[in-house]
Subunit: 334 residues, 3 copies
């Protein structure tokens, strides 16, 4: 949507160096920007791309303004400012309210007049869909669930049952919320299923990635607090509790009954075993797994960078023979 640089500066309270009547109408990266593009410089590794950019304007820090050949928005956090301005310059497509004729909505379900229920959506008994909610095609919402105001289920999302959420949550395709936890009791005749009778409670402003699964609680609920961000293909087991504004990158897995604090960051394919407590402000490196309570905020790691295979094989062989080396040192010490 075309918008003048002056209006952007005013709306977001940031300093503009350049013509306020110039117009941005789209976003681009620094090297690909055209004279209508808004772009940003948040990371010094892209500084070399700044002098040749042809953008309408660059969002950047004061220290980088001199090197900018075009208009500049000055602010302390260019990435966050870009996020806000991009939402205005490239707004989400409008979705018309109403229930598509191929959708199937249970008689006891309630759908806000302003909500959009897409093609082939199914809404179960006693569930409710909030104001301005958008339920994308192919999504299934089971019984006894609450989709909050302004929530968006992009497409093919499954809300199994007994799931409640606040406002403005986003669920990407293939996400499954409220599936049975992995509860099995061994008997002489093999496993018997332990009924999974809890629900899932999700706060406001939560975003859940594609094909991520969040299981319902066994008895009490699984809880995802406000502002949590889960990337794709994550696995949140039953009775996990994730604190507000914690973010987990793709393929992270949290085993059952573990409590994660607020503002934690889990890098890709990391995780935690079950039944532990992790305090606020913990950062877990890629592919590391927490195995016991964490009571001290900080950064935790446990994985090896890949090296050339022959070198790795030698390193492992030495590792496997450490016991023998220790014996040799003991012998020398005697």
């Amino acid at each position: 949507m075309p918008i003048s640089l002056g209006e952007l500066a005013t709306r977001f309270g940031c300093e503009l160096i350049g013509d306020p009547d110039a117009v941005a109408n789209g976003v681009a990266s620094l090297p690909n920007a055209t004279p209508e593009s808004l772009t940003f410089l948040a990371n010094s590794s892209h500084l070399t791309e700044l002098p040749s950019t042809q953008a309408a304007a660059v969002i950047l820090r004061a220290q980088d303004a001199n090197a900018c050949p075009v208009a500049a928005f000055i602010c302390d956090d260019p990435y966050a400012m870009y996020a806000r301005m991009a939402e205005v310059v490239c707004p989400e497509a409008r979705v018309e309210p109403g229930v598509h004729e191929t959708a199937v909505v249970a008689d006891s379900a309630s759908v806000a007049d302003s909500a959009h229920i897409g093609a082939t959506v199914v809404v179960g008994e006693r569930s409710s869909i909030g104001e301005n909610a958008v339920i994308g095609p192919g999504s299934v919402i089971g019984p006894d669930s609450v989709i909050g105001d302004n929530c968006r289920l992009i497409a093919n999302v499954t809300i199994v049952k007994d799931v409640t959420m606040g406002a403005r949550c986003i669920f990407h395709p293939g996400a499954v919320i409220g599936s049975d936890g992995f509860g099995n009791a061994m008997t002489a005749d093999g496993w018997i299923k332990v009924p999974q009778l809890g629900g899932v409670r999700i706060g406001n402003d939560v975003e859940i990635g594609a094909n991520t699964t969040i299981d319902r609680g066994a008895i009490d609920d699984t809880v995802i607090e406000d502002g949590v961000r889960l990337d794709n293909l994550c696995m949140i087991a039953h009775n996990v509790h994730i604190g507000a504004h914690t973010a987990m990158a793709g393929m992270t897995g949290i085993a059952g009954s573990t409590t994660i604090g607020k503002r934690c960051l889990f890098a890709g394919a990391s995780g935690a075993v079950g039944h532990i407590n992790v305090c606020d402000d913990v950062i877990v490196a890629a592919r590391a797994v927490l195995t016991k309570d964490v009571t001290v905020p900080g950064t935790y790691a446990a994985s090896f960078a890949a090296v050339e295979t022959r070198s790795w094989a030698k390193q492992v062989a030495r590792f496997r023979r450490l016991g023998a080396l220790i014996e040799r040192v003991k012998k020398l010490e005697r």
Copy 2:
């Protein structure tokens, strides 16, 4: 469903200490139980929660009965007993038989009169749906497949084709059964696809987690024996054979043509490489991967617990320099 403690004791053959006419009508954890809740104590770590519980009754071992302030069911395995009683106290919602008007069932498919085919379900040519089976909304069953009696596909499940199964299996949303295996042959022009022509054979009482995938065999079938339990986001490649009552926690991956024995337990994000044989009664720790035949039952491990990153970095640096340390010891030995 309200039921008297006396009736539960009689039905499941376990000793009741307390008023047989008292009624349970729901389940709860020990601390959250109300005077209508059934609860259990299976793990001594929850013993401190017992004295203050307000439950209708607690399922526990004889040794814990004295500390129980309310009625008690005495048994040897409270967790399994809870699983059985909970199924009675909180029964699955009844599902009406019949084919939903938005479902699309191929002319050559057969559907038992007692089966439920939900909204927007698609059933392919020559497939059959057994007695009392429940096919949840959005599920797609391709051609030439057999859904056994009392099986349940919760919602948005995909049975691709040539999949057969026994009775009482459960498939959680997003599960994909019978997708093509990863068969590719390199040629001068790049990969060519190797047609995947086997099927998937699943036994009785199998449960498959949300977004788990089980590939069809390349030529012969992929086989999942009776009572197998797979959690969410697991990956079973083509021609894998999983023995009866083996359980795999979330994110476990088994590569192609590997045979896993009976009663094995794979912890979260563990796995096995392809073309190996794993005997019965093997336990694999979280994030460990089996890389060769396992012929001795037991527990296998291979991952490091996360530690503070600076400490981890030092440990890795020492590991990388083990060769130099060995040389120094050699020199000392001379």
Copy 3:
């Protein structure tokens, strides 16, 4: 489809030892082959199964022909030859062109007359479906996307939006292409979403596994070049670029903005961190993760084979105490 051995030999230009009028009508593994089965011997580990096979014919190398008790096709690459012949002997089921009456196609979308749009499929605004494309049941194609000629979406596939692809691509069930990347900016009020405005560009002859996700770019596009093969449950983050004919086995994850070269092979559950460049012809071992630029083709590894848990625990304990061992050696050296 029954076909004479002579016709197969002629069509694929390979030598036949045996009766050209004999007929193959199906495929099987060496031990399970019947007198109508085509089979192959590509791997010497199966040589012991050759003498007793009852196949119609075995595709094998010249060196193995003498041991073959039945007809033999002689070629240099039996696995690739099998792939080609199997496609003829067991052809894909024909799919009728046309749009199923339960499909929902936007007015501004275009669908080739020869394409098949299955039951409950949804096609969004301004998207186009190419000649002979097959869109399986339950699939959702969002707006502004291009499904190339002869592409196949098996079932329940989600193409979110702004996805383009070449010809002959295959997408297995549950695959999600074009979902939002994981872009979040931290602010005093918690995370704000960074709009994901790029698309996904996919080449020709790409195959994407079940429940694999490929995110749209943040600003520029995510790119998957010709002939790429991704197995199930892989995660390709925003702005990743994967070179032609690279193959990734199940559960592989590539973090954002990483560029992978051509003809790379990623074994199961391997991956790469974000913002790195990996050259052509790199092989990554199972569960290894690349953490920095790779400029030398070759094989890279980083994981430990599982061993008996008690042994592993000792090995880890020695690893954790390496610093103390080094001190002891230092003391000896003094």
